[in-house]
């Protein structure tokens, strides 16, 4: 059975410009899927429809058999708790410590009062340290996260997603702001999250080479429409040209 199903999904911010047009695909549990496409293709919007950070206009997103678009506030919170998210700009709270930022991933399990007072249990804090250790940044636990390098901040972002104990992790351009070395580190971690922990990953990328190297399956998006969906080894030059348009040469080599 598929973990996530997107059926006829359309999204428009105004009448003229449709960001997504009738998008259909399924994701099986444990898959490592990459969505590729030029910037402005609607990758970020597609990802944000899955946990409803943006509202769905037409069509359906089904997660674990439940209709995401029809969810009430409480169910939606539960859904988001179940789906971790990693961002291009890490989206950490800059003035707080690394460990605090990791623990923010537990808010989905907290009542308002517990969260506002910052009441985290000892096992939660230990788990946070455990994850930081796993990602090799536990010595920075008490630093303010704006003092960390980009790659380190992204690892904090991964910890925050993992501490949610999610079934699915959405990654929105996780390496777009990083240098090649840090990019490799982050992609390796994401890969091992899916292989070792069995967590499904959907990763937005604009570098085809990276997608081909890491993902088992690739979805190509162009102007809001799916133009390729298949195993990554079946993605060849011609389809790539199709996805990125004529000026693809420079883009691919980036």
């Amino acid at each position: 059975m598929s973990l996530l199903k997107v059926e006829g999904l359309s999204k428009f911010y105004d009448r003229e410009t449709k960001v997504l047009k009738d998008v259909n695909f399924e994701v099986k549990a444990g898959e490592f899927l990459s969505i590729i496409g030029p910037s402005g293709a609607g990758k970020s919007t597609l990802l944000r429809c899955m946990n409803r950070l943006v509202e769905i206009n037409e069509g359906k997103v089904i997660f674990n058999g439940l209709d995401v678009g029809a969810m009430k506030k409480k169910e939606l919170r539960k859904l988001r708790t179940n789906i971790g998210m990693i961002f291009q700009h890490y989206n950490l709270v800059p003035r707080l410590t690394v460990i605090e930022n990791v623990l923010h991933g537990r808010f989905g399990y907290k009542s308002t009062i517990q969260g506002v007072l910052g009441r985290f249990t000892e096992p939660e804090k230990e788990q946070a340290f455990f994850l930081l250790e796993k990602l090799g940044i536990s010595e920075h636990a008490y630093k303010r996260c704006d003092q960390l390098s980009g790659g380190q901040q992204q690892r904090v972002g991964i910890c925050r997603a993992l501490i949610q104990e999610p079934e699915l992790i959405l990654c929105d351009e996780p390496i777009a702001s990083l240098d090649p070395n840090s990019s490799k580190v982050i992609m390796d971690y994401l890969k091992s999250i899916s292989t070792e922990m069995g967590i499904t990953c959907i990763v937005n990328l604009h570098q085809v080479e990276v997608a081909k190297e890491y993902a088992s399956r690739i979805v190509g998006l162009k102007q809001g429409e799916i133009v390729f969906d298949g195993p990554s080894k079946l993605l060849y030059g011609e389809q790539i040209q199709n996805i990125y348009g004529m000026e693809s040469r420079e883009l691919i080599t980036v």
Partner: protein, 287 residues
């Protein structure tokens, strides 16, 4: 991914009760926390220090509600006419304009002395200290002190209001001057230009719009200062009428009318200065 068997206890900070600490305990957090605690403590203490002479809470609240309702819902004029009201608003605006324009002229020269890139450090420090001193004295005291020598009236009011206008504008102007690209000044210096040449050809063109915006922002402040001086220092204008209506005639409708008049002018000025700020100062600046 590394296999983690055990956590390294040396990396985990614990509180006295053995719970894991998640705050870093740095200086910034501590200062923020202490500042908030001290302010809270002083606020609580304040209510024990206050003078409560003649204060009856129930009467005060019911009366205030009644008064405010009369003032704001049934405004009207009884001691002077509409044209007189417009004239008095004009007087207040006039006081504000005079203090602002004279203030800007004086501040321009002083800020040239205060700007670190255009002046000598002893001179700029002296100007800064004098300005800080001037700022510490409330405007109303300046006006009242000048009123002894000049008599109550527009002269004392404008001269008194000048001090804070100059202090405010010197700070703003000199900071604008200091932001001028040092390359421009260096280039002009290299051509052998005189100091005035540098100011007129290098510094002024790139800062002129900022100076004007700051001057207008000060004018917005000076309008309400002029209202205050009318009420508290007998400087005339709409502020004085407000003082008379509330303190002598106890005419709530008139107080309401005057308040609306002030509010309208203030809002118009605020809209203009917000536009200016958005246009010329994209990031917010502590005034």
């Amino acid at each position: 991914m590394e296999m983690v068997k055990e956590l390294n206890p040396a990396l985990i900070k614990r509180k006295r009760n053995g719970q894991i600490n998640i705050k870093s305990g740095n200086k910034i957090d501590a200062v923020v926390k202490w500042t908030i605690w001290i302010l809270t403590f002083l606020t609580v203490l304040a209510f024990f220090v206050f003078d409560y002479t003649g204060f009856q809470i129930e009467r005060a609240i019911t009366e205030t509600i009644h008064n405010i309702r009369v003032m704001f819902l049934e405004p009207g004029l009884s001691h002077f006419s509409w044209s007189e009201a417009v004239y008095q608003v004009g007087v207040t605006l006039g006081l504000g304009i005079l203090a602002t324009i004279f203030g800007a002229i004086i501040a321009f020269f002083l800020s040239l002395m205060a700007a670190e890139n255009l002046s000598k450090s002893w001179l700029s420090n002296t100007v800064r200290i004098v300005v800080a001193f001037i700022r510490a004295v409330p405007t109303v005291l300046w006006v009242l002190i000048f009123a002894i020598a000049a008599g109550l009236g527009s002269e004392a009011a404008v001269l008194g209001m000048l001090f804070h206008s100059v202090a405010y504008l010197v700070k703003a102007f000199s900071e604008s001057f200091e932001e001028v690209n040092p390359g421009i000044i260096e280039a002009l210096r290299a051509t052998g230009s005189s100091w005035w040449h540098i100011v007129v050809n290098g510094v002024l063109p790139s800062t002129f719009t900022y100076l004007l915006s700051w001057t207008f922002l000060r004018f917005e402040i000076n309008f309400s200062v002029a209202v205050a001086m009318g009420a508290a220092a007998g400087a005339g204008g709409i502020g004085f009428e407000l003082f008379m209506a509330s303190g002598f005639y106890f005419d709530l409708r008139e107080v309401g009318f005057i308040t609306y008049a002030i509010l309208v002018v203030a809002i118009v000025l605020e809209i203009i200065s917000t536009r200016l700020k958005e246009r010329y100062f994209p990031s917010s600046i502590n005034s």
